[in-house]
């Protein structure tokens, strides 16, 4: 799937480390089973050569790590950014969350990452090896013969509806830059909008009632960078660790989505990490779709320093009552 090879990245990382441009590298470290790649900080060429990996499971968005990383020292850190990661990168810059001077950003092209759940569904349990061969992944399992699965069939949802292959921020680009894509990422949202209120309620009740409040969606989110989240702050009046299928999860997810509205770049990390497979991106995407339709196209992170729609206005903005009607087709 990937156009850049792991070797290219390793060579680039070693080069920048050796020539002193950076003194550490944020990259992916190989795991036990090919697909369990861990974000890691490399400081030596030896470590990079032996443990750095870049494969179809390197979905993690590193931009959020830069907040902590740039606070550590005065020297630069190398970060590899896929096109979607660069939007988060810019958004964090817009919000003054890290010092741009302390980062050396290398843009890497991306043809989409694989979703291990889809791979397992296609190839069966007990995966022992996954190899990329052309447009396919060849999967070995404990119970079946090797199986070739087309990369396109196991793409993560967020990659299927990829919004941009263009890097909006980098110091250096490996390979060629792509374009912003006219994706159909709002289709799923539209499907929900076309439902009746009752159906939508049933849908979300089913989804959100599975929430275990592990906070993974929030903790991975590059827009959720508060020093202390209101839901962790006993002084905030909304702190609550309990789950109660009648209210708390809805409160958490609505407020979280609202807090990142206009700032969410739709990187899709929230849904990727949800252990309960709740399609959380459908909340954020609803806000993005509404913002586009109410206030004109706006892509958070496309431009560092841009003014988010919720801290802006025009005198002719849509009225809330009309907005609700516009926001769901069954209301018309």
């Amino acid at each position: 799937m990937q156009k850049v090879t792991c070797d290219t990245l390793v060579a680039k990382a070693c080069e920048l480390l050796e020539n002193g441009t950076v003194d550490r590298v944020l990259g992916w470290k190989n795991g036990e089973f090919v697909y369990d790649v861990t974000p890691a900080l490399f400081t030596t060429v030896d470590d990079i050569k032996s443990e750095f990996v870049f494969n179809d499971f390197c979905g993690a968005n590193f931009s959020k790590y830069l907040i902590e990383e740039t606070r550590k020292t005065e020297s630069k850190v190398l970060v590899f950014l896929k096109p979607c990661d660069t939007y988060s990168f810019n958004q964090l810059l817009t919000e003054h969350r890290f010092d741009r001077e302390k980062v050396y950003a290398v843009g890497i092209p991306c043809e989409g990452m694989a979703d291990i759940t889809k791979v397992k569904a296609a190839a069966g349990d007990g995966i022992t090896a996954i190899k990329a061969e052309g447009e396919n992944l060849v999967i070995s399992t404990l119970y079946d013969d090797d199986k070739a699965v087309a990369c396109a069939d196991v793409l993560a949802e967020r990659c299927v509806v990829c919004k941009s292959k263009k890097h909006v921020a980098y110091d250096e680009l490996l390979g060629e830059d792509g374009d912003v894509i006219d994706s159909n990422r709002f289709d799923e949202v539209e499907k929900l909008e076309a439902m009746t209120e009752d159906e939508r309620f049933a849908f979300w009740q089913n989804e959100l009632s599975r929430c275990i409040r592990c906070n993974a969606c929030r903790d991975v989110c590059p827009a959720c960078t508060c020093e202390k989240c209101v839901f962790d702050n006993p002084e905030s009046s909304v702190v609550n660790k309990a789950i109660s299928d009648s209210f708390e999860e809805k409160m958490f997810h609505i407020i979280r989505a609202f807090h990142v509205a206009g700032r969410c770049t739709d990187c899709g990390e929230c849904s990727r990490v949800c252990p309960q497979n709740i399609p959380l991106h459908l909340l954020n995407r609803k806000f993005i779709k509404d913002i586009n339709s109410f206030y004109g196209e706006y892509q958070a992170g496309a431009e560092a320093g841009s003014r988010a729609p919720l801290v802006d206005y025009t005198t002719e903005d849509i009225e809330p009552t009309d907005a609700v009607l516009k926001g769901a087709s069954d209301n018309a």
């Binding site: 909008e193 609505i254 509404d290 802006d312 809330p320 769901a328």
Partner: protein, 145 residues
Amino acid sequence: MQINGEFQPKIVAFCCNWCSYAGADLAGNNRLAYPENVKIIKVPCSCRVNPMFILRAFQRGADGVILCGCHPGDCHYTSGNYYTRRRMALLFSMLNYLGIEKERTRVEWVSAAEGAKFAQTMNEFTEAVAALGENKRLEDLRCKK
């Protein structure tokens, strides 16, 4: 809440200090009746109303929440209600997306001179919420009696 077998919705109305709260006072001065289900909370500007307050009201048993502010362009703080308008447009659209009945939330611009509009708005809103019945979709069972 049921009173004498009839459903009585709980309505929370956030009113900005400069226009809508004064509009509500004017409704009082002119003895324009509206349902007692409506309880007003005064805020300096409609832009002080955090979505969390609205969800909190539903959690605690409100059946409808209405926000009143100065007419766009007339905000005492010049731009507060413009932010309110965007925030609530997005929030209400999101609540409806989650299946919360759209009639339960509303924003209305009421000036200090519009006592009659205030009363009429509250009459209509209360009636609409009463027609929906109890808020079951954003309730917190722990808070029910």
